[in-house]
């Protein structure tokens, strides 16, 4: 299984290279510096949340409330700013909101002992509802340009948007922690067999609590990015992003059953999805076709590993005879 998932990751990375090369040479305007900036901005929020989501799914849990937490964080920034709080502090408020959302999920899963799927379906609705309660039907706009330009302009002198800084920093941090620290190894151990992990002295509940809190906090970070990028906070922001995040994580080779996955696979997957969308859009595929292609990619990512597993199991059974 482990050997196979490695292959899948490499496949995704290869796909990224192939699609990029095809795009650069075959699709007009794809290789422009503007487009690189657009793609990175486009995947920013998804990538930031996909990082902790990979940990959660590897540990055998899931968080479906991330888009609602992102939006609640954005709504908090909007409401604080509208009521005269300096924008910098409003941003801090947004980050804290994200963290609290994660802590609530973590509490309900690890202390109360509920299923994360059920808990976060509930908080998906709850956090979204709170966003509506905060903003009502009045989106907040006219945020200070000094802040919002961070959301939609490039780092001066480069063609990389500001969000690239966050992607590199957090990407490296989450990569190192997952693959090169005892904490990361614990996450895998919990995903493979939570009972065994518990008996071998791993603080399962505390580890999961940290993962949910980190997911909430990163949703808050994504909420800040989202607010700046769209220079506004509205109650219906980021609808459906949770599915985009989970799709990217699964497509990156993380097993929905837990215990398997790599961070670089997930990062490559987020990039592939962004690049594929850009290639299709610039090739003038319709929005309907885009929807079909992204759905098909996700389905392949779930079906393919399972199918090859079955084939391998079939071979083993044959050679056993």
């Amino acid at each position: 299984m482990n050997r196979f998932s490695l292959t899948w990751d490499k496949g995704i990375a290869l796909l990224l290279v192939v699609v990029t090369v095809v795009g650069i040479f075959g699709v007009p305007y794809f290789g422009s510096t503007d487009n690189i900036s657009f793609i990175l901005q486009d995947i920013g929020e998804i990538a930031l949340i996909a990082l902790p989501m990979s940990y959660l799914i590897i540990a055998g849990e899931i968080d479906l409330s991330v888009a609602s937490a992102l939006n609640l964080s954005s709504a908090t920034i909007g409401v604080l700013f509208k009521n005269g709080v300096p924008f910098g502090w409003a941003v801090v408020g947004g980050l804290v909101t994200g963290l609290v959302c994660g802590l609530i999920n973590g509490f309900l899963v690890t202390v109360v002992g509920l299923q994360s799927l059920a808990v976060t379906i509930g908080t998906l609705a709850l956090y979204r509802g709170l966003g509506y309660a905060l903003l009502g039907n009045n989106p907040v706009n006219q945020m200070p340009d000094a802040w919002t330009s961070l959301g939609y302009s490039n780092i001066p002198g480069t063609f990389f948007p500001f969000v690239t800084i966050l992607l590199v920093l957090f990407g490296a941090l989450f990569w190192i922690v997952l693959h090169y620290t005892p904490f990361g190894r614990r996450v895998f151990a919990i995903g493979v067999n939570p009972e065994a992990a518990k008996f071998s002295g791993i603080p399962v509940a505390r580890t999961k609590m940290v993962l949910f809190a980190a997911t909430g906090l990163m949703s808050g970070v994504a909420g800040v990015v989202y607010t700046l990028r769209f220079a506004s906070a509205s109650p219906d922001g980021a609808v459906g992003y949770e599915l985009a995040v989970i799709a990217a994580v699964l497509f990156g080779g993380v097993s929905i059953a837990g215990g398997v996955g790599t961070l670089w696979g997930v990062l490559a997957s987020v990039l592939v999805l962004g690049v594929v969308r850009s290639v299709l859009q610039l090739s003038n595929f319709s929005a309907n076709a885009l929807l079909i292609v992204s759905g098909a990619l996700l389905l392949i990512s779930v079906v393919f590993p399972r199918a090859s597993e079955m084939i391998r199991a079939g071979r083993k059974a044959k050679s056993g005879n």
Partner: protein, 343 residues
Amino acid sequence: MQKKIARAALALAVVGGLLATATPSTAASTGIKAGLKIAIMPKAVNIGYFTAWNQGAQNACKEIKAKCTYVGPTEATGPAQVQFINKIIQQHYNVLVISAADQNAIVPSLKKARAAGITVVTSDADVADASARTVAVLPSAADRIGTAEVDWIAKATGGKGKIAVLSAAATAANQNTWIAAMGPYLTSKYPGMSWVGGTVDKSTFYGDDDATKSTAQFDAILAQYPDVAGIISPTTVGVLAAAIEKKAKHAAVKVTGLGLPSDMAPYIEDGTVEQVGLWNPIDLGYVAVYAAGLANAKKFTGKVGSSFKAGTKTYKVVKGGIAYLGDPYVFDKSNIATFKKIY
């Protein structure tokens, strides 16, 4: 849905022909250079209303010899639209005509598009920041939507008698704005007419945009004011319920309001209702493309007080950088057969 769109497309071809012949205008006379690359972006594709809107835009495109592409997301959200705005910036379009799915979220992207030299015109739905586009082409000023309905009921009743209003919810902001404009207009313009309850507020009944409740409210008006001469219903649900109930009860009261042609066709065809109105998405798209094309050719500034010509009509930009089409489009026996197939 598919069938509806196909049907709409067929009917639109007919209307398109009518419009093209009714508005003889050539690219040469407008000063717009041929071959402009124009993106027509709805809030979301796959919606009949926007298919009609696009058809109007395409008619104008033919006249100005532009290459127009209908492009947009499948979900009507700002972030989804932004991806497509980025695409049209990438592909160096000259013009973007857009119905804003989110009045705030697409503002930074539209500003980027303008900075890249693209002429941006909003149509049907505007953005919150007027500096993000050259001009907005919108249906009718809020006041005029209200006062036009008074004119219609005056026409139906011969300018005489007592009038009531069957609205949506008491909290519906649009309807309340329109109704507020009806009040003084009716009493000052039509001396032979008055409100059943003395003032427009006391003459307004709320059907909450619910068919059953609207029907009950229609009956309540007749019961409470047997001498009522006309009912204005500024909501598509209300006016349909009123037409159905009027026919069922053989009521003499005249009915008009804002109605979908496809809903109202049977009642206009059989004479239950003389006329209803609504904005016409075909005209919206048509006029917006002209505004954008002329702005791109520097023949039109989009500033308040400036004006531009689309087809045979001239449109003036008013406060907020908005050009209104004018009166809501009226549907009666003469044109309902065509428009019922469109939306």
